[in-house]
């Protein structure tokens, strides 16, 4: 009986981020939806809806809701759209400029995570109210950071230079 040989998964080295890319797309999409909603709420003057808890109204009404006239929610939307685009690039064109794109993705996610951490500190210790939407966004961008870090390690590994694929079992 001939044994059917199965190709191994292509190693990620310099290659496709696989499920991680798709996960980043989903997470960035969710983040864009949240920050898009908060941006609309900001410009419409409507108060963000809280799911039974939190102080969205307080956070939204605080002076920290905008930086130099730009709503923080809009900054978040821009970030998530960039992350979404770069994640899509990594997923569907994994060999094109893999390392620079992965590094840029990582850098943006790092900046987003650090700034989200700062905003959460403000909510806790300065504004005195927590906004569930903002916490959700912070969790999303942190998750993207983890995946992006993983991706950048793979995308910049030596594997491609050493032989690309491990052939067959």
């Amino acid at each position: 009986m001939s044994r059917r040989r199965r190709p191994t998964r292509a190693p990620a080295g310099g290659g496709a981020p696989g499920w991680r890319g798709r996960a980043m797309i989903v997470l960035a999409g969710l983040g864009a939806a949240i920050s898009g909603y908060l941006t609309v709420a900001h410009y419409s003057g409507a108060l963000a809806l809280c799911a039974g808890a939190g102080g969205c109204e307080t956070v939204q009404a605080s002076r920290f809701a905008a930086v130099a006239g730009v709503p923080v929610a809009l900054l978040g939307l821009a970030l998530y759209l960039l992350l979404l685009g770069l994640s899509a690039w990594r997923t569907w064109a994994p060999r094109t400029a893999a390392a620079p794109v992965a590094l840029t993705l990582f850098g943006l996610a790092l900046a987003g995570t650090l700034y989200s951490g700062y905003l959460t500190y403000l909510e806790l210790y300065v504004i005195g109210a927590l906004c569930p939407w903002c916490l959700g966004s912070a969790a999303l961008v942190t998750a993207i950071l983890g995946l992006a870090a993983w991706d950048v390690v793979d995308a910049t590994s030596d594997a491609p230079a050493r032989g690309l694929c491990r052939a067959y079992d």
Partner: protein, 238 residues
């Protein structure tokens, strides 16, 4: 074998440049760039007036950022027990929550209508204001309030409060003894009555009148609604 797999997968062999592994410098550059962006955003946010929680700006009888989108005008009498309850309760909560973060500012108006000691207390507070200490004196008066026109706010006690706060005693005493601000206190009371203020405390939150000392939750609701409305009108500062 490797080559055949590359062909099967439709991959082109990598050029040397594409395969070059980014050096640690690139990692460092990305991390530094991210930190710089975040630092810039934090500094921009901090640079906005009133953004620091520690200091609440006071300009005369205004507490908070003068450009705050929500103005809470407080009409009160220093002898009024309900005003004391407001000042020590919801008023302080509003200060902590909305004045420190620049959402709202408090604007004090004397409505000295409960007797002579109300007038003297208001004059004394204006004398303290002349030394830039209105709000400290305001807090002291409410802390010392014990009853209406029973000597608590006699001139001797008012001078003692100033001494307790470390004000320039000579200047304060001269100001109080000369009734320098008597006309101003009376004018303010008349202005209040013309605006329909007939009881204390009376608040105007961006013009919306509230009589009595409302619970903090009600105030919070009104302040956030007014802040949102101001933002919609484009009046809110960045």
């Amino acid at each position: 074998m490797t080559r055949s797999i590359q062909q099967k997968h439709g991959r082109r062999p990598h050029s040397r440049a594409a395969e070059r592994r980014p050096s640690r410098r690139w990692w460092l550059a990305v991390v530094v760039a991210a930190l710089a962006v975040v630092g810039g955003l934090v500094l921009l946010g901090q640079a906005q007036p009133g953004a620091t929680a520690a200091a609440v700006a006071t300009a005369g009888k205004v507490k908070g950022d003068p450009a705050a989108p929500v103005t809470i005008a407080v009409w009160a009498d220093f002898q009024c027990p309900a005003c004391r309850l407001f000042a020590l309760g919801p008023g302080r909560q509003v200060e902590e929550r909305y004045v420190k973060d620049g959402t709202a500012k408090l604007v004090w108006h004397n409505l000295a209508f409960l007797g002579q000691e109300s007038v003297w207390a208001a004059e004394a507070a204006d004398c303290a204001d002349a030394q830039g200490r209105f709000w400290d004196y305001h807090d002291k008066l409410y802390a010392e309030q014990t009853g209406e026109n029973r000597g608590a706010f006699g001139k001797d006690n008012l001078k003692r409060f100033a001494a307790d706060l470390g004000l320039d005693q000579a200047a304060f005493n001269a100001c109080l003894d000369s009734d320098r601000y008597a006309g101003q206190v009376k004018a303010e009371r008349d202005a209040g009555r013309q605006q329909g203020v007939s009881a204390t405390p009376t608040l105007f939150i961006n013009g919306q009148k509230i009589q009595g000392a409302p619970p903090f939750e009600q105030l919070a609701q009104l302040i956030t609604a007014q802040a949102a409305a101001a933002r919609t009108r484009g009046e809110a500062r960045p």
